[in-house]
């Protein structure tokens, strides 16, 4: 047990917990004023519901047992984890924890909370609150815990294939992005999209949320070192540099293609870079984060066109930023991974490792994408057939704040 490591992971848990309200503001500013509370509520409820699910069952299904496919029920209700000699299956040898298991439980809980909340950007303005709560509850147990087991647990099959995911490029971003795509296809477009303008009602809120996300992301990525050490420092620096380079990349293409460098572009670019560096943060070094970030900024901007090309209403671009950004980061890791940064990783194409890691990264990305998409589609269809996914046309026109929550965000409703 190491007190310095424990202190850093506890602080990181708090940093990651702060990201969910940050995400709420990031998205909340982008919707119309009549839907901002609906958006904030969908994010904040994840802090309530998923936290409970996590200690009751989710953690056990993610990190319990010796199976490579699924966790176990052994650790449900955190059974036996509060003792000083508690240990987790698979976390031995090189992967032995130097922190209390409960610190790890709390830290991973914050990941479980924010991941389904990422979906809310895609389904904005029309997904029923109750349907959302039912969806993320089932999804967290069936999809999130399973994917976390595959990728994060040293017993998981993708972990043992040799796929790398430092802080959740696949587990968090590809996973949530694929689920978002499935739900958007089931939900249909917002009334009036894409002909009617639906501009953000408060970009200052969005920028505030971006700042909170960026700040919290240091806990997300550098905390994943699970220690207060050189690797955490490397991950923290990588995180910041990727966000910076991605902001620049996004703004350059935006200026060239659309004529203006925008506030929303700066915010979106930074988040795209943070997403892309997430799987890479503790496996790359040198100037790699600048390249990874810049590429993410440019490609995620170009990916905004996908929804118009195929006609699905991913309202706040979760697919372009999180799914595409997560895929980019996971794949680029196959090129930039460097064992001189982290001996527990593997060398990528540019560091003499050949194509082995790249292949594993592709396998992991595709496996997570397909699993999450298919299971999300099934869960979504079941909800659609029972309680329904979508609010009524009238409720949608009035806005979710009034129709679902009987509240108004601001003094007047003119947007």
């Amino acid at each position: 047990m190491d007190s310095g490591n424990t202190a850093w992971v506890l602080a990181s848990a708090a940093l990651v917990a702060f990201m969910t309200p940050g995400l709420a503001f990031f998205y909340g500013g982008m919707v119309r004023a009549k839907n901002v509370l609906g958006m904030l509520m969908q994010n904040v409820i994840a802090m309530g519901v998923i936290s409970v699910i996590w200690v009751v069952l989710g953690f056990s299904l993610a990190f319990g047992g010796d199976s490579k496919w699924f966790g176990s029920f052994d650790l449900a209700f955190l059974e036996g984890l509060g003792t000083a000699d508690a240990a987790l299956p698979g976390y031995a040898g090189d992967f032995a924890l130097s922190i209390p298991v409960l610190a790890f439980v709390a830290y991973q809980m914050m990941f479980a909370v924010i991941t389904p909340a990422l979906i809310t950007g895609a389904t904005a303005d029309r997904l029923k609150f109750t349907a959302y709560v039912v969806f993320i509850s089932i999804w967290s147990i069936v999809v999130y815990s399973t994917v976390a087991h595959w990728v994060f647990s040293p017993n998981g099959w993708l972990f043992n294939e040799g796929a790398l995911d430092f802080a959740g490029g696949a587990v968090v971003h590809i996973n949530a992005g694929a689920a978002a795509l499935a739900l958007v296809l089931l939900l249909g477009k917002r009334r009036g999209w894409p002909n009617e303008a639906m501009p953000p009602h408060s970009l200052p809120l969005t920028l505030l949320g971006t700042g909170i996300l960026w700040f919290g992301w240091f806990g997300f990525n550098a905390g994943s070192a699970l220690g207060a050490n050189g690797l955490a420092a490397q991950a923290l620096l990588n995180t910041h540099l990727a966000a910076a380079a991605a902001m620049i990349g996004w703004l350059i293409v935006e200026k060239l293609m659309a004529g203006h460098a925008t506030t929303l572009g700066a915010a979106s670019g930074a988040v795209a870079g943070l997403v892309a560096i997430t799987p890479c943060a503790g496996f790359v070094g040198g100037m790699a984060p600048l390249v990874i970030g810049f590429v993410a900024g440019v490609v995620c901007y170009l990916a905004l066109k996908i929804k118009f090309r195929f006609g699905f209403d991913d309202s706040l671009d979760v697919i372009a930023v999180h799914l595409v950004g997560g895929l980019l980061g996971s794949i680029m890791l196959g090129f930039f991974a460097d064992t001189s940064v982290n001996a527990l990783g593997f060398d990528g194409v540019f560091f003499g490792g050949g194509f082995e890691l790249l292949k594993d990264q592709v396998v992991a990305s595709v496996a997570v994408l397909v699993f999450s998409f298919v299971v999300s589609l099934v869960i979504g269809l079941a909800i659609k057939a029972t309680i329904g996914l979508r609010v009524s046309d009238e409720d949608e026109m009035v806005g979710l704040d009034q129709s679902l929550h009987a509240e108004t965000a601001y003094g007047r409703l003119d947007a």
């Binding site: 303008a197 501009p199 953000p200 935006e254 659309a258 925008t262 572009g265 901007y301 905004l304 066109k305």
Partner: protein
């Protein structure tokens, strides 16, 4: 008595207000308004998608003045609000039947 209504660019409001005080106007009502004329709105871009914004922000000024003040008031507003570019706004004048000052009950010119 006349009601003078002017629609001006919001950032010109302070200049207009000062100019009106300069010609002896003692009160006015200002409303933040939205609208379009021949300017026809403007374009905004969010994540590369362009939106046409028809209704652009304007300031609407209402003031009631004596008949012999109207020309000076119109001139003051025109001169202070004009940029020479499209979207400078409009002024219109309406006859007013009756004006009452609530506190004193005065009517007509005394009430203004």
């Amino acid at each position: 008595m006349k009601l003078v209504t002017a629609i001006v660019k919001p950032y010109k409001l302070d200049d207009v207000k000062d100019a009106l005080k300069g010609v002896g106007v003692q009160g006015m009502t200002v409303v933040e308004a939205r609208g379009f004329g021949r300017q026809g709105g403007h374009t905004e871009t969010y994540r590369g998608a362009e939106y046409k914004v028809d209704l652009v922000p304007k300031s609407r000024i209402d003031l009631v003045v004596d008949d012999d003040q109207v020309d000076a008031v119109v001139e003051a507003i025109s001169a202070s609000a004009r940029t020479g570019k499209i979207g400078d706004g409009k002024i219109w004048i309406t006859d007013v039947g009756r004006v009452v000052r609530i506190r004193t009950g005065e009517e007509g010119g005394d009430a203004v």
